[in-house]
Every structure is written in C-alpha cells, then in structure tokens.
Subunit: 179 residues, 2 copies
C-alpha cells in the first residue's frame, strides 16, 4: 500500500494490535458469504494486511487517485462518508459506511483510478490489503485467497444488482432525449 | 448446472468437443486480467465446465430465475442479446455480447435471481460453470480458482464503474423529485 507523503494516516502491521486483528478476523469471516472462511483461514489473511489509522476529516481514498493506490480497506472502527466528487456543485452523497464494510475493492481488482471520495467522519481504523498482498496470498494460501476473493466478488455482485435497479428506475423516469 | 425441462438447450461435457474446449481455454486466459491464467491453468478449469448449445431464439437466462440456476456462461460462439424485462412496454435493451463475454456471473457469486434476460441471436455455444463446479475447483485447484475468480471480479469492477458513471450522469440530468 502506498500513501501520499502528505497523508495524515498512520500505518503499521495489523498483528501488532491484537484486539483489532481479532476484529478483522471476525469481519473477514463474513457469515453472509456462500463459501465462508474458517477462523483459522481468516487469521491467515491478517499478516498480509496493514492497520491504518485515519484522523477525523482525513481522506481514506480520493476520486481519481491512480493505480499506485490499488488497495482495499476493511473498516474496523469508525464511520466513513462516501461521495463522488465531480464539480463542487454536483457532489452526490452516496452513503455512510462502518465496521465490516469494505471500500476500494474495485481498484484492488482492476487497478483503475478511484471512483469516489471516502472521508473519515470520526477516527477510523481500517485493515488495508494491497494488490501485492493479495497476489502473495494467492501464491502462499491459494484456497484462503479464493474464498476471500469470492466473498468480495459477492459484495460487488450485490452492488451491481442494486446499481442496475437504480439505473433502470431512473431511465424509466427520465424522458427519452428525442422527445 | 440445472436447466428447466422445457429448455431447448443441449448440454454435454466440454472436453468432448476439443475445438470448443481449446477456444474456452484461450478465452479463459483473458490477457487483460491483472493475474492471468497460464495455458495449463486454463485447461484445468475445463473439466468443471459443461458445453451448452442454444438454438437461435432460445433463452440463455431469464430474469427472476432462482438460485437453482446459479451458473455463469462463457460465450464461445454466437451472439447474445441482454435486456432487463420489467413490463413488456418498458423493456430496456442493454447490449449484445459475443465470444469471450461472460454472462450470469452475478448469480454465480451471490446466488440471487437473474437480473436480466439473455437471448440467443444465433446458435450459441457456451461453456457453463456452476456454483458447485466453482466450489470443487476451489477445493481441488485453489490457485487456478483464485485467479479465475480474480479475473471475473475484475470484469465486475469495470461494470460497477461504468454503471456508477451512467447513474451519476442520469442523476445530474434528472430533476430532483422535490422540484
């Protein structure tokens, strides 16, 4: 994980803070997943994660940030506001996320720039997994990696459905451009 | 993979048709993926896939179909129209897909009902991977499974970005409901 030099975020190995490591392991098990990680398997992910602490008001992710920041964050503590920037006059608030939510997984998978801004509404503790960390996990613990990626893919599938429904509703509401 | 008894589709093991098996292996390697399958790895996926042949006009997937049909299809030959049904008067055409495109992967990951109709515009040959097949692949070839799921997750991340941009455009165009 690379963070810009001006970032106020503090990073350290997740293992050094046992309570947050246990919290991360519990959240990684994600009981809604179709193929869940066992407790042992969840613990095998932890050495590949970095604990990052963001002060209130700090940017966790910035829309447009490039592929040097291809990591996801599993929120362990605190609240995060997500919005797409665009012009300062058209900021569309999306949602508020908290413990157990994952942000930034799209860039983890496709390496493309960030699609939204994520801002800490309180002190936020998050476990980061970089593209490099995920690749190492695939090489060294492939079954754990497969289950973890499956559970992230499941979240994305659910978001795709929700966005698709929203889009269809809006298209039915909006007058066609030729009228 | 379960297909309804009335389906005109014909299914058989992919391995029995070497030319289409080779085509499937080539398409699975997906050179755009951040972590590509080697030729050997792609071939390890094939025994878990079923070759399905759809006559022109047949439904590959039907919107609302339930979790007994949690499989994805990798299109090997032919063209497929994708649309969301809704009422007969509000059918929104989405796109036409062809060789190398994957359909139905959302249900593979989240087991939820199909979100769109997919119809064969010509004879379509497709390699199907069921939820059960994917779970067996994770158990027996976890590294291959991890890379395959990564590449499917990458496609979903790209679609999420595209849908998110469309949605933002429409929200900026549409008048707010309170005005």
């Amino acid at each position: 994980m690379t963070s810009s030099e001006s970032s106020p975020a503090r990073q350290r190995p997740l293992d050094e803070t046992p309570a947050l490591a246990a919290q991360a392991a519990a959240l990684l098990r994600n009981s809604r997943a179709l193929m869940t990680l066992s407790e042992d398997e969840a613990r095998q992910v932890l050495p590949f994660m970095r604990l990052t602490t963001f002060p209130k008001g700090a940017a966790l992710l910035r829309e447009g940030d490039g592929s040097t920041s291809s990591y996801m964050l599993l929120v362990l503590e605190g609240d995060v506001a997500v919005d797409t920037g665009g012009s300062p006059f058209s900021t569309v608030p999306i949602s508020v996320l908290g413990a157990g939510d994952v942000i930034g997984e799209m860039a983890l998978f496709d390496g493309a720039p960030r699609s939204a801004n994520c801002t800490a509404l309180s002190v936020v503790q998050a476990a980061g997994l970089s593209r490099k960390g995920l690749e190492l996990l695939v090489e060294t613990h492939p079954k754990v990696a497969a289950k973890l990626i499956l559970s992230l893919a499941q979240r994305m599938a659910e978001r795709l459905r929700a966005l698709g429904q929203q889009l269809q509703m809006l298209m039915e509401l909006a007058p066609p451009p030729t009228e």
